[in-house]
């Protein structure tokens, strides 16, 4: 077997492309993807905050159809998943393909066009949802009219990714590369399937729900799982300064996630054939294997070096994201067991798990990578790129996200278990049980609030960094002009 176990090495000195050039080659599209993603996260947390407030004050904005609970909820999901999640996953993946392949970004212009098209399509989709044009399929709410633009934009970016992968330097592949390629292909497959089946020619009856749930499960578990684990596998060995413990375990996790993680999402007792529920249960329970493999692999990699590692934002966000992935995955397995599912299905328990996965795992691993990548794009020549960030703001961002996610998770988890257990007793009226969950709901309102402030802090930091970049560019240009004059 190959010796992939060495830490991801920077490109060799003899490489035809210098590191500086390599870093700068994708700056345009990547900054476009990350900047857009951060703006969408801001919007998503604003929508989620409004939605959460509506649970306490049902009359809030009650006379406006645009701001009704269901539409805002769909808009928040869409903004988070398609506005923030997919573009940031693509951006991080593209950068990893460049860095690990030791190659230049292939087709930055095409990717930038794709990024613009994608953001425009998501904006149109969110607007349509708020106007009542949602499809009614959860996490697939954007109407059919924008689906072609989404697909085309995705393909434009995806092709750049595959081209970059193709022109990599020969040599063994590092696990992060498998994860990135897996994520790129997975989303193309599930999104086009969902678009063709649900929007093109909707099948009869409950098959729509089956496809919808299959899509949502694959989107979270496989696509976002791959996309979030790719930077984790890159940064944890890199920052702890030790080689990856085992590439076999990484391969096991990768293939089990692709095989078993893609089976699931069907609820216990749903009006679907019993075998679907059973297969879904088996697949979900089997995801214990990748969870254990990833956790042990990365723990043994970092091990004692954890304490010695620098406490910068990249390391903090990545580690927190990995821990949240393990917790969310374990909860998903537990919640799939029939004896638990009959209590917790359709309660806040499921919501707590989804929020932890998306806000905790996905957003935090993405930010970990973004904190590493963006300064290198903004100023390829800088000797200490990490210093370009304002460290205080980065620490504040991390604190806000960690507190928000943890608080919201615990509050909703407790509320969900309470709701599930209390509803088992038919003597408890539904409204009375929901009233009992109000304390949890009040606390969970802090999550979108903290995420919102976190996004604001990040955007300020991002803007400061870009301002510094512009100033340096201007200075450089004037220096060049001065030199030219002297020469003349």
């Amino acid at each position: 077997m190959d010796s992939v176990t060495e830490a991801p090495a920077p490109t060799a000195v003899s490489a035809p492309v210098s590191r500086t050039e390599l870093e700068a080659s994708g700056a345009g599209p990547l900054l476009c993807l990350f900047g857009g993603a951060a703006l969408w996260l801001l919007l998503a947390s604003l929508f989620a905050l409004l939605d959460s407030l509506k649970l306490h004050a049902p009359g809030l904005l009650g006379s406006s159809p645009m701001w009704t609970y269901g539409r805002v909820h769909a808009a928040a999901d869409t903004a988070l998943i398609y506005g923030f999640g997919v573009p940031s996953a693509l951006g991080v993946g593209l950068w990893l393909l460049c860095r690990l392949g030791g190659t230049r970004f292939a087709g930055p212009g095409v990717a930038a066009a794709g990024a613009l098209g994608w953001n425009a399509a998501v904006a149109a989709g969110v607007w349509a949802i708020l106007r009542g044009g949602g499809t009614g399929y959860e996490v697939f709410e954007m109407p059919g009219a924008v689906a072609p633009l989404l697909l085309v934009s995705y393909v434009l970016i995806g092709i750049c990714g595959l081209m970059t992968f193709r022109q990599r330097e020969p040599g063994p592949l590092y696990p992060s590369q498998w994860f990135v390629i897996g994520a790129f292909l997975w989303f193309a497959w599930i999104f086009s399937t969902a678009a063709l089946v649900l929007l093109g020619s909707p099948p009869r009856g409950v098959l729509q729900a089956a496809v919808n749930w299959w899509y949502e499960h694959n989107l979270d578990t496989v696509f976002f799982g791959f996309a979030g684990l790719a930077p984790v596998f890159y940064f944890i060995p890199k920052l702890s300064g030790r080689p990856l413990h085992s590439s076999y375990q990484a391969a096991l996790a990768f293939w089990m996630l692709a095989l078993a993680g893609s089976w699931g999402g069907i609820f216990e007792g749903a009006p679907l054939p019993g075998w679907m529920v059973a297969v879904s249960l088996v697949g979900t329970v089997l995801t214990v294997v990748p969870i254990a493999a990833v956790a042990s692999n990365l723990y043994l990699t970092a091990g004692g070096a954890l304490a010695a590692a620098d406490g910068g934002p990249v390391f903090r966000f990545t580690c927190a994201g990995l821990i949240f992935w393990v917790v969310a995955g374990a909860q998903q397995v537990a919640g799939a067991l029939p004896s638990v599912a009959r209590l917790t299905d359709f309660t806040w328990f499921t919501t707590a798990q989804r929020d932890l996965f998306r806000n905790g795992f996905l957003a935090m691993t993405m930010f970990g990578a973004i904190y590493y990548i963006v300064p290198r794009l903004a100023d390829a020549k800088c000797a200490t790129p990490d210093r370009l960030w304002n460290r205080k703001l980065a620490r504040l961002h991390f604190g806000l996200m960690l507190a928000g996610v943890a608080l919201g998770y615990v509050a909703l988890l407790v509320a969900g278990v309470f709701q599930g257990v209390e509803l088992q007793n038919p003597a408890n009226s539904f409204t009375a049980v929901m009233k009992g969950t109000m304390m949890g709901l009040r606390l969970s309102t802090l999550e979108p609030l903290f995420l919102f402030f976190g996004a604001v802090v990040f955007l300020i930091n991002f803007a400061l960094l870009m301002k510094g970049r512009l100033a340096r560019c201007r200075r450089d240009r004037s220096v060049v002009r001065g030199l030219a004059k002297e020469g003349a």
Binding site: D2, V4, K54, L55, P58, G59, L60, G62, S64, P65, Y69, G70, R71, V72, H73, G132, G133, G134, T135, G136, Y137, I181, G182, L185, W186, T193, P202, P203, R204, G205, V206, L207, A210, V211, W214, A251, W255, A258, L259, S262, W263, E268, G269, A270, P271, P273, V279, P338, A341, D345, F346, T347, T350, L423, N425, P426, F430, T431, M434, K435
Partner: protein, 310 residues
């Protein structure tokens, strides 16, 4: 795993397995699901096409995102206490949804399940709840966290709309004196959709509880059995409860197997209770309400067919 093509092939194979299992397989099994014969209370074809207004209501349900708080699926007795809460008389099965354009089963219950909303509320009660969810059945829903959907209603100067169109609500929820509430078409459609949501007849895959008297084709209860048996959507109203079909009564029809204490049970008690509360608490003008035609159509499809044929 050093080689790109193997990576692609492996990913493609995993994806294909998942796709065949969860997309293609169920389509082969359920893609051509047709109407079924009900096994109780009367043999009939099920389900029937919903009324047109109810189909429009499903679009309102989708556009308002109702599915983010309400599921439309009743789990069997072994998985959750859905039946014990009176959210249905039996579990939901694939047959129940074959005529729905967009199937929104939902995945979270911030409000109760609505698969059988029509067994608990009539259209007027739904409208009152949309105006203010804290109106109806005060004991239970005074603390409801459901938003009010006032944008589905017009508040007009009293007397400007035909009397039959006006929604009556208790004084504390009413608009200022001299004004009255008139539901917009979207509200009516949504109410019709809810009133038509009833997964009532028992099917082969969702059999009646043991001990239920199953009425077969034999004309056991009188002359109208054979004709009703062929066409009624098996809600059993035709048999014993001729009186309740009057449009004024808010109570949904009692089921023909009411004689059996173990059968339709809680739901009936609840609906009867709701209906009583509704009548007590609010001067609903249900008898005059424009919906009465639709309501009777839902209860008795034969009359609806008769009407559309004319």
């Amino acid at each position: 795993m050093n080689n790109g093509p193997m990576l692609f092939l492996g990913l493609f194979a995993s994806m294909a397995i998942s796709w065949v299992t969860f997309v293609l397989g169920p389509m082969a099994q359920l893609g051509n699901l047709q109407q079924a014969r009900t096994v109780a209370p009367l043999p009939a074809s099920y389900p029937n096409n919903p009324p047109g207004l109810a189909e429009q209501g499903a679009e309102v349900y989708r556009a308002c995102g109702c599915t983010y708080c309400h599921t439309r699926q009743v789990r069997p007795a072994g998985s959750g206490a859905d039946l014990a809460h009176g959210w249905g008389v039996r579990r939901s099965v694939a047959h129940d949804y074959i005529f729905e354009r967009t199937v929104m089963l939902g995945t979270q219950r911030i409000g109760p399940d609505l698969a059988n909303a029509g067994l608990r509320m009539d259209a007027t009660a739904v409208l009152a709840r949309l105006w203010d969810p804290r109106i109806v059945n005060k004991l239970d829903s005074a603390h409801s966290i459901m938003p009010s959907y006032r944008y589905l209603f017009d508040v007009r100067k009293a007397g400007s709309a035909p009397f039959a169109d006006v929604l009556g609500v208790p004084a504390e929820f009413a608009p200022p004196a001299g004004y009255e509430i008139v539901p917009r078409p979207a509200a009516r459609a949504l109410a019709a959709y809810m009133a038509a949501s009833r997964q009532e007849p028992y099917l082969f895959e969702a059999p009646p509880p043991p001990g239920t008297v199953v009425v077969t084709n034999a004309p056991a209860n009188g002359t109208n059995a054979p004709s009703a048996g062929t066409n009624a959507p098996g809600n059993g109203t035709n048999a014993p409860s001729g009186g309740t079909n009057a449009p004024g009564a808010s109570a949904p029809p009692t089921s023909s197997n009411a004689a059996n204490p173990h059968s339709a049970f809680r739901v009936e008690n609840e609906t009867a209770k709701n209906a009583k509360n509704a009548e007590k608490e609010s001067p609903f003008l249900s008898a005059l309400y424009a919906f009465s035609a639709d309501k009777s159509a839902i209860r008795n499809p034969q009359s609806a067919i008769g009407e559309t044929n004319q």
